[in-house]
Symmetry: C2
Subunit: 345 residues, 2 copies
Amino acid sequence: MSTGGRRRRVTIADVARHAGVSTTAVSKVLRNAYGVSAAMRERVKAAIEELGYRPHAAARAMRGRTYTIGVLLPELRNPFFPDILDGLYAQLSGTDYQVIIVTGGPDAKAENRAIDALVDRQVDGILMVAPRVARARLEEVACGLPTVVLGPHEKSALYDAVLDDDEVGAELVVRHLIGLGHRRIAHIGQREGTPRRAAAMLHTIRARTYERVMREHGLDDEIAIATTSYSEEGGYRGARELLGRSPRPTAIFAGADLAAFGALTALHEAGLAVPGEVSLAGYDNTRLAALSTISLTSVDQDGDVMGRTAGRLLLERIEGRTSSVRFSITPTLVPRRSTAPPPQT
Amino acid sequence: MSTGGRRRRVTIADVARHAGVSTTAVSKVLRNAYGVSAAMRERVKAAIEELGYRPHAAARAMRGRTYTIGVLLPELRNPFFPDILDGLYAQLSGTDYQVIIVTGGPDAKAENRAIDALVDRQVDGILMVAPRVARARLEEVACGLPTVVLGPHEKSALYDAVLDDDEVGAELVVRHLIGLGHRRIAHIGQREGTPRRAAAMLHTIRARTYERVMREHGLDDEIAIATTSYSEEGGYRGARELLGRSPRPTAIFAGADLAAFGALTALHEAGLAVPGEVSLAGYDNTRLAALSTISLTSVDQDGDVMGRTAGRLLLERIEGRTSSVRFSITPTLVPRRSTAPPPQT
DNA sequence: GTGAAAGCGCTAACAC
DNA sequence: GTGTTAGCGCTTTCAC
């Protein structure tokens, strides 16, 4: 019942001895570095194979690269994130880089700890998805290692940004609803994290755009926003709040599909038919939105391309690029059965 | 536009100098080790605070612990996994341990690479959720570091197991459907990974139990299994296959909620009402199953408790336990509107 | 109770 | 093209 003697790790020295070369030679083969003859490369590779050698990541981290890309995710429940990660994996496949994921948790403090964990583990590059920590923090991280930020709209000379044109996306939704004849259109948003960053956060942009388009159509008085969070729970609470108003909205634009799912439950509990009595739209076009029994009108932002791009930008930075890049995706509307003209009054 | 001079990391030596003590003393304070006076502890802690020191994980990994728990997840889309992780986080909160997640990908080979990545990064403990690699591989890992395996039913003296009593769960579903009057009940399962492990895999147990209960009720001839995968796509394909048979089943038991969601799409495309014409049940009782427009009958296995337990067992092993523990959860049925008596013929 | 020093496995100068 | 060697930041004997 003992865990048994953990046999000593095979090290680079063992491989060198076995192949009859120096440790330097082995190290160079490992890194595909310049300065080893083809013959030696073969011998070393054979020795690695025979001994089942695998580089010790921590030892590498002490001197060089860890061949690790760290990804910070706010949480694991939003079905849009796997789309992004699939793109990242696709971009990184074929390289020696390995992705490790940490989750940020509920507040900026927890998120900061998660970022620390990545930095402490010497990742070669970091992708922060929809981070809520202060901008100064992002720059501090970016100052120390290749960084890509996905989501927020801030410009920075220190890190690359991959983002969705949330203004276009939100406008598509609101115009779609107005085009169907709705006037009492409400919005479910997310509470901003750090107040000073609010303007750059994607949820703020979606909310502000909603307000702007409403005003442009003379619907100033119909503006109604419930500020909760982009989660099922948040969507549920937000919808409850909005449905409690009188007169109640005929359409709800949730800032994220996940929140729309929660809103769906609230609508059902209130005995309101979708889209018969209330239309509902989301954002992200997650796979579940396409599910027949949900059939949620949503905004498609290509997560796969975003993930791929983030991966490419990280690799470029690791290879030495220091100038800053900003990559923006233009979203499209995917109308489904959850939106329809408002009921005749 | 430069990334700027990455300022040198604060090291243990800096802290020692600042506090006027040795590096040994600092190290001891960091690890809450025995052999430092209270006064010295205070001085060191103050110095750490002032300098903003954070331990370098890789350097620690070279000699001692990394304070990292590695989690292997098959993929990121199954909404049941976040439940497990929430439990794990809860158990680990308050400790110095940080969780990093890697995903196994589509096949055993990719999963092996992901496990390697965790081992190479010297995690202090590893949690493998529903691994599909060979059993020998699990034991090999467990031989080198504290290991908990969540899902498979194999017994091992080398690692701890946290599992759901899938036999009970599957039986609940099938009996529920039979109790409603169904006879033509079909099942959507997952292709086993390594053939030799099949018997221990949770998806095999769910399928075998389905068969057993069907036989016990004299429904041998009605047994119909589509073996795809526990994914939306797999559920879709499985349901299409099953609905193509004649006569078609009046109920489908999908081995996972995620697969049931895919089956829902197939049912809808085929123009079949749920539960009017075909009843549908899942497994995992994910939050989305409770969604009003889905309202999926499912089996609840307490993911939070499973995650908590996995965390506790890992901590115990890290603290030195070498005997092997097996923790089993008993699931319960959550009937919802997706199951009803079969249509009158 | 405290500190000096060795060394974990690797990479990168630098010498040959 | 190849090998020698000095560390990276920490933990851990082992003296004091």
